[in-house]
Subunit: 761 residues, 2 copies
């Protein structure tokens, strides 16, 4: 690969939408007001399981300010949502209640408050079922079927080599079970939609959402309209992290039903409680890992059993099931692997996509056991990992090998080098226990086996040399718009300030699937680059005509077309663009990046599953206060192989933010249920990291160029979550000498365990 000299990509730039975000000028869906706007609020079930005998809406209908109350019968189409067909989740439940919080009716009123008050008047008569509240119970023989199809949401196996033969060769075998809790996405902005009937049989849906095309398709199917009659425009979105998908469909459909029936704009804005009980959570998991190793640390076999609690509906559970399976063996060369992963339905809030997509849970389990193994073998944990780390050309868990962009060893070495420069941790004393934890991880980039991986992007250059970019993936705070602007500016040789990247409008780009799986930079960036390169061709052709020279000699840079042999010979790009327009060269292009398709055996999951993997090594130095269990983070190193950095500022933001998510998962966050109902659905009772908990993250970078990404880039939205959560757990074990095989490891957990250990001493 020849090294391109880059002038925008790789430089530190401010987020292109930073100004309006910090000044409050950015328009969120909840900021939108239209004449005649009315407000929707869903009535929800308080019980988690039962057969509906009656939904009484008369009282609600008569309440002050109420315009209409809709039930499932008012939905003209499917009354079903879900990420994958066959969709299994009603928009409004009509027959069966499967979780506490399920929507049963939509009240529309002249104010949010009036709708909320009236929603409480909706009556739900129910013939209750015995709730099924754990995946284990769901899978017991004879358990009541939550869905007609049974209680297995999805189940898959991965088979590589022969695990039993592998264990036969092992000198050491460990087997442990690890559990993790549910986690809430906890975005600052809860879910909001605002739907406007545009008077031509079409509706425009402004939504805080992650997958506008998905939303469009489900609105069309539920309204029994052609999708071409529905336009979804992503409003500024205050975080999503995987969360604003099914729930955005639910409220999008409800608001559209109301808007079409009433002929008025309708908004639905979730309150925090609704956002927590009525939308997807991170899957809780029970993971049993058996690992066999030689005395020298060489891993010879892993057998892993994963059980995920998927809650009441499927959502993304099938893909999460698969992703946990593929990632659970960790970023290591292991010849013999057997993994089975199962998600079960339960009568709890449903689980779905969540930054990391199952990888944090299984990485926590795998990396905890790696430390336990190192302890047993008396090896340095970093050396144990280095010994087994995947290298270019190695076959990974699915038997796939990559010739390039496998930078794990480099991340381990970088962390190793860095730790040698650090002062030794103080010895633990009566007050503080000191510890260090490390972790290694990998994360498949982009959809891979989870579906076709196509992103559409258009680049339109105006005659004045400024560009409008549209991409089918959403900006959710991850900095995608900035990356796309940088790539466009780089290719066309124009300043970043002349590039505008739009929010997604389904009318304007190719259905690009969901904005998940760290796809934005990799597949989205590639689409932008391809489109920009096409526009560049027109500029180069025009400039060559103007210079009366060969196209090969034309360079676009610094807002000029110039000759590579004499950069003083230059024409302002706006003049070239104007001339190109009037000469008939196209100045707009719509292109697609289509990542290589997955190809694998569906029984064993051996084959090409992802187009690339991100790799990382994390290190935490912590101290734990003996008397209180309080954990203080002294240091956090996060070294990621990202292929190529596009915007160092954005990258640091992603690593810091993702690590804090991992820290929350590992130390603070836990959804608590009582009789199937979430009892801490608010930010007072649900502890999550605040700005005070910001980690002292030191972002370190390895650039092992990825041929499937723009300029070699790989996404980094998700990997830090797993890296940080796992390293934190190992640091706690190192400090306390106690292995916690559950997440979160809360201050209370630590204190109780320390007290118990002291008492046992």
């Amino acid at each position: 690969m020849t090294v391109e000299k880059l002038s925008v990509v790789g430089t530190r730039v401010r987020k292109v939408d930073g100004y309006e975000l910090v000044t409050g000028k950015a328009k969120y869906a909840g900021d939108m007001r239209f004449p005649g706007l009315v407000y929707g609020y869903a009535a929800r079930s308080k019980v988690c399981a039962g057969r509906i005998t009656r939904i009484g809406i008369d009282a609600a209908r008569k309440a002050e300010g109420v315009l209409a109350v809709f039930t499932g019968k008012d939905i003209p189409g499917l009354n079903l949502i879900g990420v994958l067909p066959p969709h299994d989740q009603p928009v409004l439940a009509t027959d069966v209640i499967r979780y506490a919080g399920e929507s049963i009716a939509l009240v529309v009123a002249t104010s949010h408050q009036a709708a909320r008050r009236a929603a409480r008047l909706v009556e739900l008569d129910i013939e209750p079922f015995e709730p099924i509240l754990s995946a284990e119970d769901a899978l017991k023989e004879g358990a009541r079927k939550i869905h007609e199809s049974g209680n297995v949401t999805y189940a898959k196996k991965l088979v590589k080599g022969d695990a039993e033969k592998g264990f036969a060769q092992a000198d050491v075998i460990l087997e442990n079970t690890y559990t993790t809790s549910n986690q809430d996405h906890a975005y600052i902005e809860p879910e909001v939609v605002c739907v406007i009937p545009s008077g031509d049989g079409r509706v425009t849906v402004y939504a805080s959402c992650q997958s506008p095309f998905h939303l469009r398709g489900l609105i069309a199917a539920n309204l029994a309209l052609p999708a071409s009659r529905v336009r979804v425009v992503q409003a500024y979105t205050g975080g999503s992290f995987g969360g604003k998908d099914d729930v955005a469909s639910e409220i999008g459909i409800l608001a559209t039903v109301a808007a079409m029936k009433l002929g008025r704009p309708v908004t639905i804005a979730h309150e925090r409680e609704e956002s927590m009980i009525g939308s997807t959570l991170r899957h809780s998991a029970r993971i049993t890992i058996k690992t066999g190793a030689k005395k020298d640390g060489t891993l010879v076999a892993r057998r892993i059993s994963i059980l995920l609690d998927g809650g009441a509906y499927a959502s993304e559970s099938p893909f999460v099931t698969m992703k946990t399976m593929v990632h659970s063996p960790g970023p290591y060369r292991i010849d013999n692997i057997y993994v089975e992963s199962t998600t079960a339905y339960t009568n709890k809030t449903y689980c779905g996509a969540f930054r990391g997509f199952g990888v944090p849970q299984v990485t926590f389990a795998s990396e905890s056991q790696m430390d336990e193994l190192a302890l047993k073998l008396g090896m340095d944990p970093l050396q144990l990992r280095l010994k087994n780390a995947l290298r270019a050309g190695d076959a990974n868990a699915t038997g796939q090998s990559f010739e390039t962009s496998v930078g794990l060893v480099e991340t381990i070495n970088a962390i190793d080098a860095r730790r040698k420069t650090l002062p030794a941790l103080p010895a633990s004393d009566d007050h503080w226990l000191y510890g260090r934890g490390i972790s290694c991880m990998l994360q498949g980039i982009s959809n891979g086996a989870e579906g076709v991986d196509v992103v559409g992007a258009s680049v339109q250059l105006s005659q004045d040399g400024s560009a409008v970019v549209a991409v089918g993936l959403t900006e959710l705070g991850q900095g995608g718009r900035t990356v796309y602007a940088q790539i466009t500016a780089e290719v066309l040789g124009i300043p970043l300030s002349k590039v505008t990247v739009r929010q997604v409008d389904t009318d304007t780009v190719h259905d690009s699937g969901p904005t998940v799986a760290s796809r934005s930079t990799t597949v989205g960036g590639m689409a932008v680059k391809i489109a920009a390169v096409e526009v560049k061709k027109s500029l180069v052709s025009m400039a060559a005509l103007m210079f009366k020279t060969d196209e090969k000699l034309i360079v676009l840079k610094d807002d000029f077309a110039m000759l590579s042999v004499d950069e003083n010979a230059r024409i302002p790009l706006r003049d070239v663009a104007t001339a190109a327009y009037w000469t008939g060269f196209p100045l707009m292009n719509l292109s697609f990046s289509h990542a290589p398709d997955a190809a694998f055996d569906h029984e064993t999951h051996q084959g090409r599953i992802y187009i690339a993997y991100g790799y990382a090594t994390h290190l935490f130095d912590i101290r734990v206060e003996r008397g209180t269990g309080k954990v203080e983070i002294l240091r956090h190193l996060a070294c990621h192989d990202v292929g190529k950095v596009v915007n160092p500022v954005g990258l640091e933001g992603q690593v810091e933010g993702g690590s804090l998510f991992g820290f929350g998962l590992a130390h603070m966050e836990e959804i608590l249920f009582r009789d199937g109902r979430i009892i801490n659905a608010n930010f007072a009772d649900y502890a999550l990291p605040s700005i005070k908990d910001r980690l002292p993250t030191e972002t370190m970078i390895v650039e092992d160029a990825n041929p499937t990404g723009p300029y070699g880039a790989k996404g980094v939205g998700e990997p830090p979550v797993a890296g940080a959560a796992s390293a934190f757990a190992n640091a706690v074990a190192d400090a306390t000498g106690i292995r916690f095989r559950k997440l979160p490891i809360t201050r209370q957990d630590i204190l109780v365990a320390l007290k118990r250990a002291e008492a046992g001493r």
Copy 2:
């Protein structure tokens, strides 16, 4: 050309936007309301010429409800508009006033009424100039220069053969001068914009406009912003007819200046008077034609001198100048032609694009003289035209010859055949004078020599088999959206109801230039067809995979993919679309149609000027009431060669509407000036056809396929204007025996002339 079997194109379909238009659901820019919306109103000069010494805005600023008053100094960029560089028209005049009605300040207030009241308080101190009120005066030696460059807006010559030699061979020579008046576009909806600052340094401009990209470019240049920061969305537009271009820029810029400075949404909605005095009119013209013919009627030479009054600014005058020149010799084989056409600046409301674009004026002159010639030669007017009519392979006035799609003779023959079936006109009696007039005409289709002719269009198919189409040309009532929907439905084999055609949004398609020159169907339709064909390829490929057969055997029809050899073997198109999406076939395409460029000698205008011409023959039977001058239309035949009819309903609408425009021009409409001020700027004093004047038009069609249009189509938006105006004038002459060499020929004109003729008898 093999004949395709078509199932949607060519069938009678309802306008796709008809429902919302007739039910009032369609949202016009004036219907838009946003929180905090404020209203702009321009203060205008009452005098038509002078140097500004002071603009006093203090009183206006202090008026009730006023938020701000802006003058030209507040415009950050050019303070210039115009269709062609160098732009010559200030947005707000700062130094010189060139016409009565010119904007000098913008008042922004909390209501339209408050802004309007305050605008009257703006004081304009002026050092007056002697106004120049006719093109003849403007071109007199020593005339005051209205612009620094002088008073010639544009002047061009066409030279074919040798006119003088031609006249030498003539048996008969006629020379006459014809004049026409200004005409107002008189759309139902006056000009409106509504501008919303979107909080990210961008603005969205909803506009009733004809050329959104033009508007975007001028807003950017006047705001000193990159064009990528401006998004123009065409609102439903209640007619334009060429009119909503410069004026849309003027109010678009003013509203954007106010919106950016105030940080609020701003709307400006013209009242009727503003629409008439402050935006372009049809050029008034003085046309002198000298024609030489043999005894047998063969035309041997024409020498034509055209003088257009362009008013205060250039607008589209250069192109109108050229178009009058090219079309003035008429649709005839004439070997020797000399035309000079000049537009002059005057101190009157400026003139610009207007349905027909100069062709009605020169066709009236040319066709009047053809009748005068027929009379002199004692020939049947239709036979004289048939004898000289352009046929395939003939060189037209610019020396260009077309091998196909020259259907003039067929239109003449069709009218001739039809008239033979008609009862003879009654003989004139004491009360009624009966007469018949015919005309032939041609009209260059599309931009041609007027600029690059590129249109962008995108077709996006959803997984459910419905399509969204975006085109860079505007729907102005001409039925473009319906034509585009038909073409898409035809290509993809889906029902029309599954196709949605968007209004133009500059973010989403390639700059496609202005929607003028009957380009919509021809060049726009071609772009849609190209894009749809690309999407079709994906469907065909997918269907072939599904059928496990060859792509050549796949037919898309009736919402199915089927086998050509067995139409019972069929898969619903939505299933094919879904499968194609998940297989990675692109379902969206952005394409361009690029009409062949013009190529001609700029001195003589010999060469390729237009990609095609439309041809027509019109016939009017009328009777004139001797005692009152009242004209009754008994019959109107309009036979057009349109290449291929896409939607017969839309075509009839265009022919009927265009003919009524021609009738208005010929019989009713006249802008009246006193001291340079328009004195009939309202619909009480400006007579124009109402629904009661609807013509009994019988639309007749010739289809001589045009290879440069989709399915052979040629546009027909403009041609009926010239055809009807000219045939009407000839009918009046035939009925009254009096040749009126001016338009309009009003009832009063006729009455006065009849009385005078009687008196002279």
